[in-house]
Subunit: 310 residues, 2 copies
């Protein structure tokens, strides 16, 4: 593999950044990996487990001399970090981010970056429900999409370079308009997360009056919801605050649709329910064909290896 | 292992019944396994892959001489099947079912059963998103709960016998009042399924106007929902029609709760969102501690084997 960046500075050392560190190392994509995290414990861990060659107490110190700076902090922290690092960025360096929302990040970061620095916003569609520097692993991005949303401050060369890095870590890369990104993600990720949080909250209320049985007997539907609802609270708070319009739009559609099904249940309209459930099954098949999941059954526990032919 | 029933008749040969056949065979729990399914293809498959020793064209023929009859058809089909088999049941035989709703099944089945036949309603909390006779496997019930909801027509001996069968297939068994079962299941399974169906439906609308990107970029939240929403449409239609009151109750609570979070997003109340998401994370930990899931990260693809210590 070819070294694509001589020095990569990771700002924030959680699941995504630590997975990038492992993936860059395993594929020989970065000459040196340096990092900064707000918490001293996280910085110590990053050195201890070999995520970073060097760590710095401040983001401003970490970015000096780097030809790639990756902002991997919650979306709500982007503004302050960008203001801090702006004056310390090397000429010709590329700044990217891994935030789940793109328009708000662009508004927060772009104004702080000097002339001669390229800003290429990005978003890897990959994750687990775990967080922190020990949660990362090299294969997190393999065969997952990374969406880049280039803007005026993204030179074509800088975008191509960053694309090569993500492809080198195993991701499939696509480019998209930032506003469109935010709408698509509101549908496939943000609103589902909010719904999962809500359902788990309802169950919790009920649990309090019913002796913990909700947890004891959690069947597949609810168990999948709790997995989603265990994701990092800070990250998700910021997602909803910064992708507000798209999420409220999709939530409105969701509520309308839910009321239609609720009414069908109340009226005993079995045909309407059956037709609806048959349509959604076809969408699942589309996802399997698009390679974003396998047809192997999921038991909510560790799944068996895929059978040949699936 | 000890043979618990001399002849088990499986009525309906889908995911649950075929998994029971594999599990009973593997553990030597049944002398003979016979079966009936409405479709000739399913009956032929059941013989071909060795699910049943013999199959019958009618449920009435299949139950003759059986000491255990398992009703494994959609909840909406229970009434007609019970009426058909009632006159053909052997004295001293036990009838059970595997329906996801208990009160409606009891109302549908109990009146058709003669004196001297025990009826022990049951519900294994296990499944995958696949259906049909080829989808079953012997380990489906291992370490999962099977809830029995005994009624007046369940003798203590018949209940103890059936418990031994489920434990022999690896399940943990508990007993519960039928109405309470239906409420708990509305929370941990039925309502989450309805919500997943709805969210996938919303995405489908949007996909039609946006070039399939919803499927292409399905990230973890939505992918888990599509898995749930791919479950058998007939089974789920019947669940919602027959557990109407509990589902409508929980849906009402869900909508109230969702509106609270929606308002927090609209008002930009980050603290309220953060607190809510932190609480739901704790519930997830409760489920892991209750042994209903593992802490291994889920990438929405086939998961890696669990690490030692998890």
């Amino acid at each position: 593999m070819t070294v694509i960046y001589q020095r990569v500075a990771l700002i924030g050392l959680g699941l995504i950044a630590s997975s990038m560190a492992h993936a860059m190392r395993e594929n020989g994509l970065a000459g040196e990996i340096v990092g900064h995290a707000k918490s001293p414990e996280t910085r110590a861990t990053a050195l201890e487990i070999g995520l970073c060659d060097r760590v710095f107490d401040t983001a401003a110190a970490a970015v000096q001399g780097a030809d790639l700076v990756v902002l991997a902090v919650p979306v709500g922290a982007m503004d302050a970090i960008a203001a801090e690092i702006g004056p310390h960025l090397a000429a010709g360096c590329t700044v990217t981010d891994v935030g789940s929302v793109k328009q708000a990040v662009i508004e927060a970061v772009a104004p702080h970056l000097p002339e001669g620095v390229a800003f290429v916003p990005g978003h890897p569609l990959a994750g687990t429900e775990h967080s922190g520097p020990r949660s990362g692993f090299a294969s997190l991005f393999v065969n997952r999409w990374c969406l880049l949303t280039p803007i005026e401050q993204s030179s074509p060369e800088a975008t191509a370079h960053l694309r090569a890095l993500w492809e080198g870590m195993g991701a499939k890369v696509d480019e998209m308009d930032p506003a469109h990104h935010d709408l698509v993600l509101a549908v496939v990720s943000h609103t589902p997360h909010l719904i999962a949080y809500t359902m788990v909250g309802v169950a919790d209320h009920l649990r309090r009056v019913s002796n913990s049985e909700v947890i004891q007997y959690s069947a597949s539907g609810f168990r999948d919801f709790t997995r989603i609802a265990a994701s990092d609270p800070t990250m998700w708070r910021d997602v909803f605050l910064t992708n507000k319009d798209a999420v409220l739009d999709i939530l409105g559609r969701f509520t309308e649709e839910l009321f239609v099904l609720q009414r069908a249940i109340r009226m005993g309209d079995g045909q309407q329910l059956f037709d609806y459930f048959t349509r959604t099954r076809a969408i699942r098949r589309g996802i399997i064909e698009a390679g974003q999941d396998t047809a192997a059954p999921d038991f909510g526990r560790v799944a068996p290896p895929a059978k040949p032919g699936e």
